[in-house]
Amino acid sequence: MIPFTDRATLNHAMKRDCLVIVSLPSEAKPLIEHWKLKPLRRNQTEERFQLSHNNGIYLAISGMGKVRSAIATSALLASKVCSTPNPIIANVGIAGSSINDLLPGTLVYINKIRDFASNVSFYPDVILKHRLPEAPLETHDTPVTTQLSNRAIVDMEASGFIQSALSFMAPSTVMILKVISDMCDGTKITPQDASTHIQGHVETIGHLVEGMRTHLPEPIALDDVDLKTLESIVSHAQLSTSQTHELTRCVTALKAQQKPFLAPLKNLLTKPITSKSERNAHFTKLLETLYGGTIE
């Protein structure tokens, strides 16, 4: 089996898919309307979540709380629902604020997430330019109705979301956006309030998502033909695990450099392999053929 992490070449032309995790239907509604998302047929993997899709954007409604958020994020990332192998992922929702100058209605870009219960922190990379205020966020297990001593945004999902997302993805492909709904003062937030808060920022959220989809260099997988050829070589030559890794790195590099590699690989498929020493000699020959003339 070809290791997933080795299946990467740089390709700036491709647009990544985007997974968006929200906790409540009322938060999802304005986004679904903005992106014109249609419900996706449920299968066994996604049956716990409402999943909508259009034009490379997949939105899941996880339910409230960090555990549900983590489950939805993991399930979605593991299900490979996306058509591109390395999507970006965003968590969007409402949050409370204990920062005096971040008032209700403000959209905030989150740069640090601390899980209040475990005191573990997570950091997404902020690479692309934006005009939003940035702030740290604390995820609590229950609603926060009194002002905190820490200056932070407060929610109930983000730590679960990011812990799961960072188990699969690069920190630069993870984004958390929160609209302030209250000042942690016990104000009751209705579903209509939540929708209104998100609705006020759908254009900006859409713009940021598109920016990440487009501007971060996309690692693409070796395609099915490449992988099939590679696997037949590995199987034919009975390559060891380390040889398989080395060969995969080599083929990935040649693909990234737009050098031919399929034809030389196929040429070597015809030779029979009967012993370990033959295998090793075959492997050396394979690399020489592929690398030959790489630079000189």
């Binding site: 902020v126 080599c250 990935t252 590099a253 790489t294």
Partner: protein, 336 residues
């Protein structure tokens, strides 16, 4: 949509926040977003970081080094006949983006870490490098200190240390042309400014964001005029198309600007890298021809073959002999 500028964010360890150097850095970046962290490793050592994404907008992590202030020198680098050979890493990572650099294989992040407890490094050096035996200390291996001297002032700190400790020879290795940063500092006889030079075609194609060859040469010339000891490092020598002609041109261009008589010495070494770092380099930069060149791998190191190494070192040495005597040429005593 564009990327955020370099050091748009300062990740600051709580333990480092009140250190004078940390305050000085924060004052240099008043518009930067500050993010509090408990330990620099929370940010720097995260898994699955994308080096190519981070290079588009480097962040600065301000930390406090708690241990390992000095390391023993590696066999990959020359000790210039010093038995006591150490290096120190007051900063991790580099502003420049050389495609062949081992840092891409060594560190999980492209972001830069600066340790703000500079005086703790000096104390460690004073305690370890006692005056009974000469010592050799390289302070700019895992970074380029001169390139960021205006921001962090680490060169000045170590030069002041060198003045008080004449038994310690300090090497500051750089590709920078930022000699202006040292204009108010008196040259110290036991401080060597060591410039890495590569043919213009390599500088242009593979040493991203570095000053041009001519800019480096002019900086060297100024350093010599000011009285600094200067070492030239033709290291790594890369076996690229027309490498002989390119290195001959490099050497000729070098000595049109640099005074050969005033040079302390010249270090020569072919490209070499720990094989583990090379794997990481290859995975991070599959598009890089340098990263994926079929180097010979032996004893956990990747480099050119013995014959290639000898051919390259002989060729460059012979070209140098037109300008400097043999005793000034120091090939790195390393090969597979």
């Amino acid at each position: 949509m564009t990327t955020l500028p370099v050091f748009s964010h300062l990740y600051i360890e709580e333990a480092a926040r009140s250190l004078p150097l940390a305050e000085q850095i924060r004052a240099r970046f008043p518009k930067a977003v500050e993010v509090s962290i408990a330990n620099y490793k929370e940010v720097f050592n995260r898994p699955r970081q994308r080096w190519d994404h981070q290079r588009q907008s480097l962040k600065l992590i301000i930390a406090k080094r708690r241990d390992a202030f000095l390391y023993q020198g590696s066999s990959f680098v020359p000790n210039f006949a010093h038995d006591r050979f150490y290096y120190t890493t007051p900063i991790l990572n580099c502003l420049y983006g050389c495609e062949y650099c081992y840092l891409q294989g060594m560190f999980p992040s492209a972001n830069m870490v600066v340790f703000a407890n500079d005086q703790d490094f000096i104390t460690a050096a004073e305690n370890t490098l006692t005056s009974d035996t000469p010592a050799y200390l390289c302070i700019s291996y895992d970074t380029d200190l001169l390139a960021v001297e205006q921001l962090f002032g680490y060169c000045a700190t170590w030069i002041a240390y060198a003045e008080k400790n004449p038994h310690v020879t300090i090497e500051i290795r750089t590709k920078s042309a930022n000699i202006q940063a040292l204009k108010d500092i008196t040259p110290s006889p036991n401080v060597i400014l060591a410039w890495t030079l590569s043919p213009e075609t390599i500088t242009h194609t593979y040493e991203h964001k570095t000053p041009s060859l001519q800019a480096r040469l002019e900086a060297i010339s100024i350093a010599q005029q000011q009285g600094w000891k200067v070492r030239l490092c033709f290291d790594p020598i890369l076996r690229l198309p027309n490498w002989q002609a390119n290195y001959r041109a490099l050497i000729q261009q070098t000595f049109q600007t640099v005074c050969a008589e005033q040079l302390a010495d010249i270090s020569l070494g072919v490209f070499r890298i720990a094989s583990g770092y090379r794997k990481a380099l290859q995975e991070r930069s599959p598009q890089s021809k340098l990263a994926t060149y079929p180097y010979k791998v032996e004893n956990s190191a990747a480099s050119y073959t013995k014959e290639q190494t000898e051919e390259m070192l002989d060729y460059v040495s012979n070209e140098l002999l037109h300008f400097v005597p043999q005793e000034k040429i120091c090939p790195v005593p390393w090969q597979l």
